[in-house]
């Protein structure tokens, strides 16, 4: 399918490019380390990664201001959490089921969400969080706040009823919400040819939603598309659906050898690896790629160290916190990464 290339030229500074590369590498390297820890039995349950899809979570989140809500990054979107500033040691403690600041061991794998950074963690039921993101956008609009909500979902998730209820609702109320369709050609073992007869992007106009398709392995293209969608959202022009075309390069989870995936498809996409591609761009922009990689690896080593020393959660806490007692803690805010925000920093918006 034809992809629209939204040029990021002029939008991104050298620091932006260094930052984008840093988080692309961080996601890749954290997940590689996670896979090893899982194989060593240090991570219980299951392990999921987003290899090959790093540019989507990273590029999209880079375009958000701190007051915008992420609801929710899914299992291919660790990069969104990292760009948002989620503590690396907490990520590993969470993976390992140790006591941690994200879920205290109540959640696992990529079911991460730091509410203090304006992130609402995912639920497994796909794509339930899309509807919740629409609700956040509804609240932002009701309070006339300059913020939007962004949600991710896969090609497979588009088949469920909640996808439709969210699309129709967002269009009807013309809400500031950004829908990111991560089309990675697969839903577990199911190819998109067994998921839909026509790519769901073609339905957007039928709801009254602006849509575009971008190269999901081009972090700057993803950034630019989300940047544009955010401007539309804040200008009161309503929701945007962005299809990011990509490929799931690993199995559905660590347990899945993905032998059902055609080799040539994987080869085709291996040649379009988002990190290799961006390393070139960043290098040309003067970024010392190897230095960044070394720095990130050192951070990861330190984080894993801390995680391995962390205690397991106290069993006595297993039954606490089902209900909220007292005043709810508000959803917090994240950093505004894009250099373009420097001019207008994200102040806490009136709530």
């Amino acid at each position: 399918m034809a992809t629209t290339t939204v040029l990021a030229d002029g939008l991104l500074s050298g620091e932006d490019r260094a930052g984008l590369l840093r988080y692309l590498l961080m996601m890749r390297l954290v997940e590689e380390r996670g896979n090893n820890l899982y194989k060593q039995g240090k991570i219980p349950g299951s392990f999921y990664d987003g290899r090959g899809q790093e540019a989507i979570g990273v590029g999209a989140t880079w375009a958000l201001a701190g007051a915008d809500a992420l609801c929710s990054p899914l299992i291919r979107d660790l990069g969104a959490h990292l760009v948002r500033g989620t503590d690396l040691a907490d990520v590993f403690r969470h993976y390992m089921g140790r006591e941690n600041g994200l879920s205290h061991g109540r959640e696992g794998n990529v079911h991460i969400g730091d509410r203090n950074l304006g992130v609402v963690g995912m639920v497994s039921m796909l794509p339930d969080m899309m509807v919740v993101a629409v609700g956040l956008a509804m609240a932002f609009k009701m309070r006339a706040e300059e913020r939007c909500a962004l949600t991710f979902f896969g090609d497979g998730a588009t088949s469920r009823g909640d996808w439709h209820e969210a699309m129709n609702w967002a269009a009807l109320d013309n809400l500031p919400v950004i829908f990111i369709l991560e089309n990675n050609n697969l839903a577990y073992s199911t190819p998109t040819s067994r998921q839909f007869a026509v790519n769901p992007v073609a339905r957007a106009a039928g709801y009254g939603i602006e849509a575009l398709t971008v190269d999901g392995n081009d972090v700057e293209a993803v950034f630019a598309a989300v940047h544009g969608a955010r401007q539309r959202a804040l200008a009161g022009e309503g929701p945007t659906l962005i299809e990011a075309q990509t490929m799931r390069m690993h199995g559905h989870g660590a347990h899945d050898d993905a032998s059902y995936v055609p080799k040539d498809l994987l080869e085709h996409w291996a040649g379009r690896d988002p990190i290799d591609r961006y390393a070139k761009v960043a290098a040309e922009a003067g970024v010392d790629v190897e230095a960044v990689r070394a720095e990130v690896l050192a951070e990861i080593d330190g984080a894993v160290e801390l995680a391995l020393q962390a205690p397991m959660p106290d069993p006595a806490t297993a039954t606490t916190g089902v209900f909220c007692e007292g005043e709810p803690e508000p959803l917090g805010q994240g950093p505004s990464r894009w250099s373009g925000f420097a001019s207008r920093p994200a102040e806490p918006v009136s709530a």
């Binding site: 809500a69 609801c71 994200l102 879920s103 109540r106 959640e107 079911h111 969400g113 509410r115 609402v120 963690g121 639920v123 497994s124 039921m125 339930d128 969080m129 509807v131 919740v132 993101a133 629409v134 609700g135 956040l136 956008a137 509804m138 609240a139 932002f140 009701m142 909500a149 009823g161 909640d162 209820e165 969210a166 129709n168 609702w169 009807l172 916190g321 089902v322 209900f323 909220c324 007692e325 007292g326 005043e327 709810p328 803690e329 508000p330 959803l331 709530a351």
Partner: protein, 320 residues
């Protein structure tokens, strides 16, 4: 204190909260200019405007899911299901998203889902259900089922002010049938049972419409019947139930819901465990048998527990 119907009391509580707290808003199908299928929100869009009294598409999952998002953003949504029966279409968002969010991530979800529930007026299989126990079984949800106008208002206010998701059951067959004194202003009904009628020979545990059925039956029995109105199903006021059984040593548990795994099963199991030593007889239950609610009046009357059946069950237990 004004005398209001059960329905007017619900409207009054909702209006008070809309006036008192700008974070509160109501949404559902036809709740705006039409005032809702049962007129609970009549006049509200005129007073509070369409932003706070929102007509929605026919999308129960959308209603609950967007409410969760709005609540996480700091608002206090009150969702109306047009009939309780349609909550099955928003079930997943309630049990998997709303109910587990605080435990998993520390994010509170202060939403209220209003369920016009129950039978007794020829509503048939899809407009008569009592789905409370589905939500009692799912962790993280509070469940209330007021029986009187005073509690209908106070429990709704308590539900809206609670930081957790609350399933609020309002019985359609009490809407216009039951009147009572209702305090002015804002007050909260405690999440506790109340003794609706003092007695010493037998305890009847009930909630919602069945409280009135129990009271009517008690009037016709010449023995001292205590009627415990649960009011809140989650949290369940176990001490109040056990205290009454300790006093009477006999218990009949009523449900209008289908009997298997109903709220009454939980109450009876509680009494059989922690109240066992106080019992002078079996823990009896009376509920709607496990059938869809039929439309035709004689059939519906044959399945819903009525005053006569409650009387019989009480007399039999008193003779035990």
């Amino acid at each position: 204190m004004a005398t209001l119907t059960y329905l007017e009391a619900i409207s009054d509580g909702l209006r008070e909260m809309l006036r008192d707290d700008e974070r509160v808003f109501v949404m559902g199908e036809d709740v705006g200019a039409f005032g809702g299928a049962f007129k609970v929100t009549a006049g509200m869009v005129e007073e509070f405007g369409p932003e706070r009294v929102r007509d929605t598409p026919i999308a129960e999952s959308g209603i609950v899911g967007t409410a969760v998002g709005a609540a996480v953003a700091g608002l206090r949504p009150v969702c109306e299901m047009q009939f309780a029966d349609f909550v099955a279409c928003g079930f997943d968002q309630i049990v998997n998203v709303a109910g587990k969010m605080h435990y998993r991530l520390g994010l509170a979800v202060p939403i209220v889902v209003r369920l016009p529930s129950g039978g007794g007026f020829g509503g048939g299989p899809f407009h008569s259900q009592n789905p409370e126990s589905w939500f009692m079984q799912a962790p993280g949800l509070k469940v209330v089922a007021p029986a009187t106008p005073e509690d209908a208002k106070g429990a709704l206010i308590a539900a809206i002010q609670d930081p957790n998701p609350v399933i609020y059951l309002e019985h359609k067959n009490l809407y216009r049938r039951i009147k009572g004194e209702v305090p002015e202003g804002i007050y909260e009904t405690p999440w506790k049972a109340r003794v609706a009628r003092e007695g010493s020979d037998l305890t009847v545990v009930a909630y919602g419409q069945m409280v009135h059925t129990a009271l009517a039956a008690a009037e016709q029995i010449d023995a001292s019947i205590e009627v415990v109105d649960l009011r809140s199903l989650v949290p369940l006021d176990e001490e109040a139930i056990l205290a009454s059984v300790a006093k009477t040593s006999k218990a009949l548990v009523l449900d209008e819901a289908n009997q298997t795994c109903a709220a009454g099963a939980q109450v009876a199991a509680l009494i059989a465990d922690r109240g066992f030593e106080d019992l002078d007889g079996p823990v009896r239950r009376l509920a709607t048998p496990d059938v869809p609610i039929p439309f035709s009046p004689p059939l519906e009357a044959a399945v819903l527990p009525g005053v006569e059946q409650v009387k019989e069950a009480c007399l039999e237990l008193l003779d035990y």
